[in-house]
Assembly symmetry: C2
Homo-oligomer: 237 residues x 2
């Protein structure tokens, strides 16, 4: 799986971007507060250049705004480019990011069934085959993490078959959130529950049945939500 993130921890610059970015996202730097460039320089033990390039990147993500005389200050949350992959990752990895995760589930149940519908209408034969292969690959995985990745790959390929670039990107966003969550739905016990709904989606897509694909995907997600709720309740006791 290729990540969309640009900073694989390589170089000092990326680390500073991520450190400051996470501080802002987590609320440690309050919106409206001004950032002290000299202080950052000392805190992260880097030169002005690095600090200011990092702030430029954060400005590109809408997190900060630099104005002459007024200083560089943190923008309010509503101004952030919340759909930026890095920003999403930082958010979801925050302990307080569960609210956004709920939002994500809602978006998922809106987007994915619609995507399945379009996929059923537009998929090529090759895409049906690779979808089938992706589904088969889930069964071959051993550990939970690999299963999750394979599952995500299936959903990603399905949305790609919708041939709608914006939907595909939204699926990437959904992936980031699902990957960041701690709850692992795919335990051994649930493997039997997993395959049939996915197979149903695949079948509908294969026979180019938009209504069926949409319905099957909705059922799949509702079932998954139910399973997860069960696990959460069990774990919460």
């Amino acid at each position: 799986m290729e990540t969309l993130s640009i900073y694989p921890g390589r170089g000092i610059h990326g680390q500073v971007v991520e450190a400051i970015g996470r501080r802002i996202v987590s609320g440690k730097e309050a919106p409206g507060s001004t950032l002290d460039l000299d202080a950052l320089e000392i805190t992260y033990d880097v030169s002005k250049t690095v600090v200011r390039e990092a702030l430029k990147v954060l400005a590109a993500k809408g997190l900060v705004d630099a104005r002459p005389k007024r200083g560089t200050f943190v923008r309010s949350r509503s101004q952030w480019s919340l759909l930026d992959p890095d920003l999403l990752r930082w958010q979801f990895e925050e302990p307080s990011g569960s609210g956004l995760l709920d939002d994500l589930y809602e978006v998922r149940i809106i987007v994915e069934p619609a995507g399945a519908r379009l996929a059923a209408l537009r998929r090529t034969e090759e895409e049906v085959e690779s979808l089938a292969a992706a589904l088969a690959a889930v069964d071959e995985q051993a550990d939970a993490e690999a299963i999750i990745e394979a599952d995500l790959a299936f959903h990603r390929q399905l949305l790609e078959a919708s041939h709608n670039e914006l939907l595909i990107r939204m699926e990437y966003i959904i992936e980031i959130g699902l990957r960041a969550r701690d709850v692992l739905v795919h335990t051994e016990g649930h493997r039997d529950d997993f395959l049939p709904p996915h197979q149903a989606v695949l079948d509908a897509v294969r026979r180019a049945d938009p209504d069926g694909a949409e319905r099957a995907m909705r059922q799949l997600l509702e079932q998954a939500a139910k399973d997860e709720q069960q696990i959460k309740n069990r774990g919460g006791k």
Copy 2:
């Protein structure tokens, strides 16, 4: 209306970001090709600092990737952060961006009815009132551009009432696309067609009727699509 864009043309830096960004988005810089930093320095008549800060920003948007020894090169389109507000604006303002606009309409008819449903479930009394005010404001506008802005404001406020942060951001994206398109649906003749469907959405939201809100929004969008198609056909002849 506040833009999410970070570069209001202020400063040389932003201009270089936009210039190079647009070249890449438009395909003038082929994916995989390496960018010559010295050449850019000369082309835009700025120093190394500006060029490299601009490239850092573009890297944050996933457009380029800089590697020691290999150079700075353009990433493939699939790696771009397509949902970035700036990137979307550049795309939509390209003549060749009509494919993405079609995608956008599809997303809109997926997201907005679902958003209307959630809004009906969660809106506060204050939100109903400001929605009503937003709709009333549309009627007061004189020129086409102002009407469009007022219309967008209505849709934006509706999605905000869904209280789902991700949906709200998607609406921002939709806005960017709609604002960039050249076709102006809201000509004088269509004003009568405009109000009733919007009123229907508002009424459903007011009486907390999710099914009604979803249906009304879907009808609104389908009607709008039909109108636009008509205009396009008329203009095309």
